[in-house]
């Protein structure tokens, strides 16, 4: 993560390329041609590619066999997290994600259950409309609806990539304490505890 946090590009070995002025008259052009011809600039290019071939420092990733790790902020198919305490789904049915969704693809219905508590009776994300902007994950007060890292989806319709049951963390993963928290937008930053201030009570 450290390498991504360092935004100070000037310290990373970048420098301005020294570009000569273009010749304006015939004599200048002639001098440039003679210089380029006898400094054998073409062979510099030949040497560079030959050096890379000898070093054999291949950067190809043989994709299906090898995979790059993706960043924690990657916004792929959504996930619905469960509560660590009760394994129940975290969604409280507040409707913020439905409200903020700029492509109007989230739809939820809530009702009062037998214990007189608010429950989410249906929650759908129309992935055919979703633009994966991440606002729903950012706005969610419970860190319930988040983006996952699963980018290998194939279907004849994007709507079929996942349904609500698939978004929800599987119960066996939950039992194994293996649920991964989302680190993208809206998530708690790593040093959040140090920055929390006590609420001032006296004014």
């Amino acid at each position: 993560m450290e390498q991504f946090n360092n935004r100070n590009v000037a310290d990373n070995g970048y420098y301005m390329v020294d570009i000569e002025d273009y010749p304006t008259d015939g004599w200048g052009q002639f001098k440039r041609i003679v210089k380029r011809t006898f400094r054998i600039e073409l062979f510099v290019g030949l040497w560079v590619v030959m050096r890379e071939m000898i070093k054999f420092d291949i950067h190809t990733i043989s994709y299906p066999e090898e995979k790059m790790p993706i960043g924690p902020r990657y916004r792929a198919i959504h996930e619905m997290k469960r509560l660590w305490e009760s394994d129940a789904e975290r969604c409280i049915g507040c409707g913020l994600c439905e409200k903020i969704c700029i492509s109007d693809c989230i739809r939820m219905d809530t009702s009062i259950d037998e214990d007189s508590r608010k429950e989410v009776s249906s929650y759908t994300i129309n992935l055919g409309r979703c633009i994966f902007c991440g606002y729903c994950a950012e706005v969610c007060p419970e860190l319930a609806i988040t983006h996952g890292g699963e980018y290998e989806n194939a279907s004849d319709q994007r709507e079929h990539f996942i349904d609500y049951a698939g978004m929800l963390t599987p119960i066996d993963v939950m039992k194994a304490n293996a649920q991964k928290e989302f680190e993208g937008f809206g998530a708690i930053t790593p040093h959040e505890d140090e920055r929390v201030k006590t609420t001032p009570l006296a004014y």
Partner: protein, 327 residues
């Protein structure tokens, strides 16, 4: 004409056709691999071990793909153009001595189809006829990119014929013969021609890039500006013939350069034969190497280079050679 000669010639023709058609395919494998390594990629990896069977897969695709003749083209010319490219490329091979002569079962084999007196003239001339492939194919295609490519092909090939001819003229004056066998024998006694004719060697080499249409002078089929140029409307095996012609030309010119300037196969020993193959491999590799390293020039820069730099140098070289031989 006795039977032995006839059978030998037929066998040689068949062997050359088969070997160089196969080499054209394997050449694409080497090209893709070497370019990939120079660009820190892996190249074809999935078909067969290290992607070796990719050649076969490409061949199957080329042979079985539908041969589309678009409705707007001039069909007879459109159909014959790729054949011209491939046929002239292989015809040029007739006068090239690929190996020194050797003896099989007491029968002496000369690995040259026809040791004609005008060998080098024939090779260069037939290779130049190959220009009709891109030219006719491009003009018959009814496609603006193909037409641009045809115009460029005509300009480039005609211009660089001049350089090729003048560059080859000085060695011809020294050797006093046009036969490539005589070139080889001359260099056994007098040392490699590259030492006495370094400028002609470099000019011929540069012109070879234009003749084969390889990367600094790849503008007749420049993917990034005119799609595939003359090959845009072609599909299947007709496009494949253009392809085979291009690669066969690369191999043949890679044989011609060492035979003219770098001593050929030398005194005819096994070592000399392998040396010629090694030199050929280097020149073929250099075609791929430059493709990885160098940018393409613009058509006007190409013309400028030909008429204002290379041709005057070639003429001066011929004149100096003449004076040196006279006095």
């Amino acid at each position: 004409m006795d039977n032995a000669y006839l059978i030998e010639t037929v066998i040689k023709v068949v062997v050359i056709l088969l070997v160089f058609s196969a080499l054209a395919g394997i050449g694409t494998y080497f090209e893709r691999k070497i370019l990939a390594f120079m660009q820190r990629r892996l190249g074809p990896m999935n078909v067969g071990p290290f992607g070796l069977l990719q050649v076969g897969a490409d061949g199957i695709k080329l042979f079985t793909k539908e041969d589309i003749i678009p409705s707007g083209v001039v069909a007879p010319i459109f159909k014959i153009a790729p054949v011209i490219t491939a046929a002239t490329a292989f015809m040029a091979a007739a006068a090239i001595p690929f190996l020194p002569s050797f003896t099989v079962f007491g029968y002496e084999v000369h690995p040259i189809v026809a040791d004609i007196d005008i060998g080098i003239l024939y090779v260069l001339g037939v290779m130049a006829i190959g220009l009709f492939g891109p030219l006719l194919g491009g003009m018959a295609s009814a496609n603006k990119f193909a037409l641009l490519s045809a115009a460029r092909a005509a300009a480039v090939f005609i211009s660089y014929e001049v350089v090729t001819g003048l560059a080859a003229l000085a060695p011809i004056m020294l050797v006093g013969s046009l036969s490539l066998i005589d070139f080889n024998n001359y260099q056994i006694e007098n040392g490699w021609l590259v030492w006495s004719q370094p400028l002609a060697f470099i000019l011929f080499w540069i012109a070879a890039f234009a003749e084969t249409g390889r990367t600094p002078f790849h503008l007749i089929a420049n993917d990034h500006e005119i799609i595939d140029g003359f090959g845009t409307e072609y599909s299947g095996m007709r496009w494949g013939l253009f392809f085979i012609g291009e690669y066969a030309n690369m191999f043949f010119i890679s044989f011609v350069i060492p035979i003219i300037f770098l001593g050929g196969f030398g005194d005819g020993s096994v070592l000399g034969a392998f040396a010629l193959l090694g030199k050929m491999a280097f020149f073929f590799f250099f075609f791929l190497w430059t493709r990885a390293a160098w940018p393409d020039v613009r058509p006007d820069q190409l013309m400028w280079l030909c008429w204002k730099v290379l041709m005057p140098l070639a003429v001066i070289n011929v004149v100096i050679t003449g004076f040196v031989m006279m006095f």
